[in-house]
Symmetry: C2
Subunit: 106 residues, 2 copies
DNA sequence: ACATAATACATCATATCACGAGGTATCGAT
DNA sequence: ATCGATACCTCGTGATATGATGTATTATGT
């Protein structure tokens, strides 16, 4: 998939992946795999960014001898998803513009 | 509109703006205005990039004492639009993933 | 017993790219 | 004569996705 097209979707995908309950990095990647491919370096960068933007909170807990960082979405994060939905109308308008055929010549 | 979301759309918008006949920079911006806002620096950067990628060709012509550079889409450029259409299925799948509510919790 | 894969996190350098700021020049209208 | 519109362009900056690389533990296969 075109990298530029992905850019606007990655952040919101990560938020969507945790919106129904907390999750952790490694699991988020696997959960998103069927939908969108994301490398580890990308994911951890995004998680850090979203945390800084108060879109999610973190807690560290041990699990099977290994440390995990569990991420939970905040109200601001949920708001980000709502904003995304609103913006989608604009996106679809642009999509229509791009694919529309000119009747006079077609 | 979110800048990251725009990124995947700008190139293809420019191609769409010239797909039904040649046009020039200043006009492309005005034509796209109702659909998507693009600064001049962005547009000219994109035109240069698309030319390098053989997605469009250029000819310079005088018009009313001023020079204009007319851009015409190539087969590769039209192919790019077709690829975009194909990719849109993936984009919509991602969109559905993001907006879908979890029935068990909602 | 040993090697390999999977789990789980992280950092850094690099490349791409949108955009504001700034520049040049002509034409038409006030 | 001044100003807005037309028409092009360049440069620096900031944002960001990703591969390469690193660390450490557990599970699995042979």
């Amino acid at each position: 998939m075109d990298i530029q097209l992905k850019r606007g979707l990655l952040d919101v995908c990560v938020l969507a992946a945790i919106k129904n309950g907390e999750s952790y990095g490694y699991k988020i990647i696997k959960d998103l795999k069927p939908c969108i491919d994301m490398s580890e370096s990308t994911l951890y960068t995004i998680l850090k960014r979203l945390e800084l933007a108060d879109m999610l909170t973190v807690r560290t807990a041990e699990h099977g001898g290994r440390l995990r960082k569990y991420y939970r979405i905040t109200k601001a994060g949920l708001g980000r998803i709502e904003d995304f939905k609103d913006e989608w109308r604009e996106v679809m308008a642009i999509y229509q513009f791009v694919i529309k055929e000119d009747e006079e010549h077609e």
